[in-house]
Symmetry: C2
Subunit: 203 residues, 2 copies
């Protein structure tokens, strides 16, 4: 956490298009750096260098390295953050299929797979990154799905459903075991949707 040194200058943040552009560029660079190197090997200094700015400016916009990471992950997940409502909306007896399709969808899409992989790698290796994972994925995504289930053990149900999907992603996209890695996505949906549904609404 040496990156979090006392270099923040929170007052007088510049406004306007140009500074918003700089902020976005830093964020995009941070995403790339975290994706390529993982949480531990990425530094605020390295992000600043790659973005062509002073490290103090990175701290100014985002704070500590952990906060830069969280902001980068949040941006990567922005398209997915409306998902909980979409997943929980509609008939409850198809919620398992909607959640399964959503998770497979973000993993099948190369644009969302890279940041997901980066979070997963970082969360497995680093406690700070694991905390961000818990806060974002579990706190925002899973808790919201659980809230709509309206069952006393909803959180455990959602987590066991998530475990099936996270494990499938691990074996299919990260470790790439065959035949799972090459299986047709529709075949996987057909196998996993009932299981996820069972966790969420089963007896």
């Amino acid at each position: 956490m040496s990156d979090a040194g006392g270099t923040t200058r929170r007052r007088g943040r510049p406004r306007g298009t140009e500074s918003a552009g700089t902020r976005d560029r830093i964020l995009a660079t941070a995403r790339e750096e975290f994706s390529e190197r993982g949480y531990e090997k990425t530094s605020v200094r390295g992000i600043a260098k790659a973005a062509g700015v002073d490290p103090a400016l990175v701290h100014h916009y985002f704070g500590t390295k952990e906060q830069v990471f969280e902001a980068a992950v949040e941006v990567a997940f922005a398209p997915a953050m409306d998902a909980p409502e979409t997943i929980a909306e509609g008939p409850l007896d198809a919620v398992g299929e909607r959640l399964t399709r959503f998770v497979l969808g973000v993993w099948e899409n190369p644009a969302t797979r890279a940041p997901l992989l980066a979070i997963l790698r970082s969360a497995v290796n680093n406690e700070t990154a694991a905390t961000v994972f818990r806060r974002l994925i579990v706190g925002r995504l899973l808790r919201r799905v659980a809230a709509q289930l309206n069952l006393p053990d909803a959180e455990l149900r959602v987590e066991l459903a998530a475990a099936q999907l996270v494990g499938c992603a691990m074996l299919r996209y990260v470790i790439r075991v065959e035949p799972l890695a090459s299986a047709d996505p529709e075949q996987i949906v057909a196998r996993l949707a009932p299981v996820v549904q069972g966790h969420l609404t089963g007896p």
Copy 2:
């Protein structure tokens, strides 16, 4: 793979108790180093130093860094390598519960959890370590369970069952999401065994 340099002296391997002791000490040290640092940050030089031997001796006994890793993982899993037969033996309608109890058992046991965590961390971050994971866990453990199922899609079934268990281990032991991380193991067996059974023998 620079550790794989041409330092192997395969001829004239010393025999007897003393050399067996040295070999075991190198292996135990390798296990610790890989567990603590992960695959990428561990070097044959570092293992040799920690074991108090010349790096050439590590190469002599085990070959490349990948081969040292595989040997270390194999030793860590030796107690589990009879598991496939045990899991597949007995009534087929309880194979899901046996597999679930086996996987939770090795994760609940601190002695086997550390090497498992090391493999998982390494396999997520490094392609060579992922290959070792595929060869050992999938090739030996899962394929053997699949062989006893005697179903045309047995391998995919076993992998989807494994996905449920790997994902549960990720969320419970690695990322530690609540309430799953603190749930009673028997409660988890009760929830997961039918799912694992369904993957293995369901329609």
